[in-house]
Assembly symmetry: C2
């Protein structure tokens, strides 16, 4: 497997993309992106579990039922959420317009939006730009598409790998936007992953869910789940070869997909609002993976833990307490905690040099390892610290 970061979603063969500013955002920043596969692609998606679902989510759920798609239209600046019947109609109109221009079924067009909620989609601005957008489609357009889906993200997020499957070079590429709040309504995670591997819809769907569970679903910035969260995966088969249905080849594909998804997910955490540190919360020695994940998630979501890391404070008491209220059954007296490799707790607090701890916690990336010593299972959650800037960004007025 080989990594590359050039041209995320247009790195795989047969994919084109484009991005431009259509005027949803006030300051002429790019806000509209299109991803296109030259041939119909097998399609899979993971959508938000929020009970409140944006119009593009509802429409995409419907469209993806066929298991195939050819284009994805994404916009930033407006979430088209809580916009009622008109929001749904607007979303369908944009899908129809893209389909006309690309000569495909409207159901082959998927949608994703991120931005202010409760405000009608600026439909005309989008419709007016679709022709220019399709014209711009290019095999080098991945980067500008990644730009166009950014909200408060401070850098675009792209990743790509190659992997050999059945003697052929297969490519996987992706882009994402993070939990940066669109100023300042809603944290949304959007991701698009493309591949030229030959996979059918059902296999694709299974692999995507499995990988998302280990990557995008293992990160947390503030624990809030948006109305618009969506990750799409398109596989157009342009690498050639036989359909991959299982076995070793599927495992290799899955491992490569994991690389792309985890790199995108980590970038999202690193670009978390106000984040100054990337924290890896690793729980080992658990009885089940579920318990390990529950404990790791409680630690990762604790405001007290997150502010302590912002303050570079070796505050293991807060970590132990978070495991304590996570709901899992464990024995504090058997538990060990290491901060950046430094043992600070083993059934009881350990003596350590505050100077050493401080030096270790000043690093940009810190791993918290919690060993429950009651089994073999483990799980990891990635998160960031909680800083002044998180409050600043999220407390600012909409006006």
């Amino acid at each position: 497997m080989m990594s590359t970061t050039v041209n995320g979603i247009t790195f795989p063969r047969g994919f084109k993309a484009a991005g431009l500013a259509c005027g949803i955002k006030k300051d002429s920043r790019p806000d509209l992106a299109l991803v296109y596969s030259e041939v119909p692609a097998a399609a899979a998606a993971v959508f938000t579990t929020n009970r409140v679902q944006a119009a593009p989510v509802t429409v995409s759920r419907e469209h993806i039922k066929s298991g195939s798609a050819q284009a994805i239209l994404l916009n930033s600046g407006n979430a088209n959420a809580c916009t009622g019947v008109k929001g749904l109609a607007d979303a369908k109109t944009t899908a129809g317009a893209v389909a006309s221009l690309l000569n495909c079924r409207p159901e082959a067009v998927l949608l994703a939006s991120t931005g202010v909620i409760g405000v009608p989609l600026p439909l005309q601005a989008i419709l007016d730009s679709l022709s220019a957008l399709t014209t711009r489609l290019s095999t080098e357009g991945g980067a500008e598409a990644a730009q166009a889906i950014m909200t408060t993200d401070t850098f675009p997020k792209e990743a790509a790998v190659t992997v050999e499957l059945g003697g052929r070079e297969v490519r996987i590429g992706g882009m994402a936007k993070g939990s940066g709040m669109i100023h300042p309504q809603m944290a949304t995670l959007l991701g698009v992953i493309t591949t030229d591997a030959p996979l059918g819809h059902e296999v694709l769907n299974a692999v995507l869910h499995q990988v998302i569970d280990q990557t995008f679903n293992r990160i947390t910035v503030d624990g809030d789940t948006s109305t618009n969260d969506t990750v799409f995966l398109l596989a157009n088969g342009c690498a050639g070869g036989e359909k991959i249905n299982g076995g070793k080849e599927l495992e290799k594909f899955s491992a490569a997909l994991y690389q792309v998804a985890s790199r995108l997910a980590h970038m999202i955490v690193k670009d978390g609002e106000g984040a100054t540190k990337f924290l890896t919360i690793q729980v080992v020695g658990a009885r089940t993976e579920k318990e390990a994940e529950t404990a790791a998630r409680a630690v990762a979501n604790s405001n007290l833990v997150k502010t302590a890391f912002f303050g570079e404070d070796a505050n293991w008491g807060r970590i132990l307490a978070a495991v304590g209220y996570s709901g899992i059954d464990f024995t504090p007296e058997k538990t060990e905690i290491l901060l950046a490799g430094l043992p600070v707790f083993a059934g009881t607090g350990l003596p350590f040099s505050e100077e050493t701890a401080k030096a270790l916690l000043q690093q940009k990336e810190v791993t918290v390892k919690i060993n429950l010593h009651q089994g073999e299972a483990e799980a990891t959650i990635w998160t960031c610290d909680l800083s002044y800037d998180y409050v600043k960004i999220n407390g600012s007025y909409r006006s």
Copy 2:
């Protein structure tokens, strides 16, 4: 029912209290408190649900099994948590020493601690001060006891009411310390409520749990649960009269207890670390109280909602999204949201004057009302906003 704030825990007849500085805290602030009933009192308690429990919690659980108690020793500055076998022995030693001085059984002494965790209890400092502390016990000592349990609390928390039961004036008083972080290890809630009402242990225990569920368990500052959270209730019967076992008299007692507990709970939220606003999250029109509570709690614990209120931003999208991921089943299209009385959402965003909204949200106390329009049940959670100062207080170094 009549309210008074004088002498919280020593307002009921037959109770004495004292507080002093024994040297656990470095800056000579009071850190040791004693509550004493002249006669053995029926006793009930609610303890933290955290799997990690401090030594005083373990000892108090054991001691309260008899259903009666005569004294409570509380200290701030050290939580005696994660201190192993020695911590347990230290806790028992303090209970034994108090019992000797007060001439009661060691099991009649309850304990509570709050402060740094993982550091051995300064046992000698406590033992050296117990004689002075018992000598200071006075019927006007409630205020100094309330001072001695403070950590980062900015004001002491006391409340008291009188209520007529069976033709007699019965008194209830209480003190609490808030979720202020002891610098800076752990947020702990401690509460002591006293009454001269004649109630047996079992009735007392039932009433306490019921009231705590509606008061202390309905507030949240940062969602973290400490290793030391404890609320004690002592009833010494000094008001005279027949034992209250149920019926209308018990209802009146319960309502009065609710007054004391809810006032203490609200003070804790108002004194939340860095809090600038007191938020009442009220969910009505739910199918069950449990669903209403679940939704209200999700809104109250959302960092995005809390920072928006700090920013005085009428950001109903975040509120709706929090209900959306709370896990309850509801229909966004039927839902209404009012911010400080201003309708901002009714199935879709409503037009409102940003100026009006801003003026309303500048108030120190704001009520968020969410009507799900699918039933008759409701629940309220009280919380505070999330400010720069929360991050500052909790990110500061221990050194």
